[in-house]
């Protein structure tokens, strides 16, 4: 079953980009990599996945970063200077051909000419995720871009109908349970599993259990509002989420192991909504 084996690995390509002229970044800046795919320049096999409206698709395209920081606009115009090297990453279920589908070259994009090189390739085998090195210490999660997490995923499934009209917005003060619940959701997306009542219940239970059995040791969180494009009428589309980090532990070894696994998958595929445009990029240490 080669196709099943393939879908059991997630790959992350970290790609360097150097513009041949000053480049004004689009909002979100992940649009550069997305456009390169839609133009057919790189990873043509991913076109359908990029276009897919599936809410939990196994695809993460990061914002553009320089010097270890992701670039996203809070209203200001962002630029990369001519010759300045920036980078961006993309993660998806591994397929053999993918390695041949990105050629180091200069590409003509709507944003200007950009030289593309591959910086590194990371592979995560879902069937043997190594959690050992994280088990004996606290878990630290760092948000490189704000995640969009709605606290409503922690609603008991039996009450979903009763509160279906409630909009609880995106959490700017996420609990460990909420983060874990969404990490499980990302894990499901990696496995290609769609939502169903049984998985919804499991996602709810993970959130509740992790909230009850976790302890936070330190954090630095700040809500930020960022621009993620324009609507059909040309109005700016904004969204709001937390930036910063949380250091915590989970006091049940079995549960901790599971959550680490989900978080490691999320360090490839992101956390929360709009992962496909680079929101919810996290680092685990």
């Amino acid at each position: 079953m080669p196709s099943l084996l393939c879908s059991m690995r997630i790959v992350k390509f970290t790609i360097n980009m150097t513009p041949l002229q000053d480049l004004i970044l689009p909002a979100p800046s992940s649009r550069i990599l997305k456009t390169l795919i839609l133009q057919g320049y790189i990873f043509p096999s991913l076109k359908d996945l990029v276009k897919s409206k599936d809410k939990n698709k196994p695809l993460f395209i990061s914002m553009v970063g320089t010097q270890g920081k992701r670039l996203f606009s809070k209203g200001e115009i962002l630029k990369i200077s001519k010759g300045q090297m920036a980078s961006s990453s993309i993660s998806f279920p591994f397929y053999e051909k993918s390695i041949d589908e990105i050629k180091e070259d200069t590409y003509d994009t709507p944003f200007g000419k950009i030289v593309i090189t591959v910086d590194r390739i990371d592979l995560l085998d879902l069937s043997s995720i190594k959690t050992e090195k994280y088990l004996e210490k606290n878990i630290k999660i760092k948000f490189l871009t704000p995640p969009l997490l709605t606290s409503k995923v922690l609603l008991p499934p039996s009450l979903k109908e009763k509160y279906k009209s409630v909009r609880s917005g995106y959490s700017i003060l996420p609990s460990i349970g909420l983060i874990s619940s969404y990490a499980y959701k990302t894990y499901l997306s990696a496995l290609g599993k769609n939502e169903n009542p049984e998985l919804d219940t499991r996602q709810f239970k993970i959130g509740v259990l992790t909230n009850a059995l976790s302890e936070v040791f330190g954090f630095s969180l700040e809500p930020i509002t960022i621009i993620i494009g324009r609507d059909d009428k040309g109005n700016l589309r904004k969204t709001r989420g937390p930036m910063g980090w949380i250091e915590f532990d989970i006091k049940s070894k079995k549960l901790k192991k599971r959550i680490i696994k989900y978080l490691l998958v999320s360090s490839f595929l992101g956390l929360g909504k709009s992962r496909g445009i680079g929101l919810g990029e996290i680092e685990i240490s």
Copy 2:
């Protein structure tokens, strides 16, 4: 049933204290008011309640405050100067005689001579708590002293036995559900209700539901470690909790009304563990 009627009201006495000499504050500084009661100078009827080891007793004795801030030590020695007016508050189930049990006078305490005057008396009638003015806007909770909240109260009661050995510590990043769950616990203490499986389940459900249906709009939180006395061997006893504020809304009107009620009771009786020595003092606006 006059005794039932009495217990349906919570009273808060705000008491001014002016030392006749420089006064070194004990840790916790709530010990001044506590000592005045144990010495029989004020509220002699409360002696038994003050001594009681009941974990959820309806008693709150605040830390000493000056200029709107509570004084608690992070290691340093705290003083009030001779003639400087400080204040402290105490909340408990109202009884008629209480008003006569505090006389404005100069009292000789182990900490020095202190002039005591009553600044104000607030009464909260549990059978008719006014929530209207809070319902139409966001709720802002401010921690005047750090609350001690263990996330384990959000564990499903059916799993309590399974995870009974787990110590999840005090949360320094409290969720709205955790705060609400503890506010309900304070409300139960005001009603004189002891814990039982049914109330445990209700407390759990309130936490889960509020976590799912709440939205945080702003916050400023910082964990602090404070000294709360010495153990039998003379070692400093420390504890850690969050200071700051959270502004949030609850997206179900019925639930919001209940939580506001519990929080208003908690603004008299405190939130979390060690309310009796002034931890978990909150303001709601």
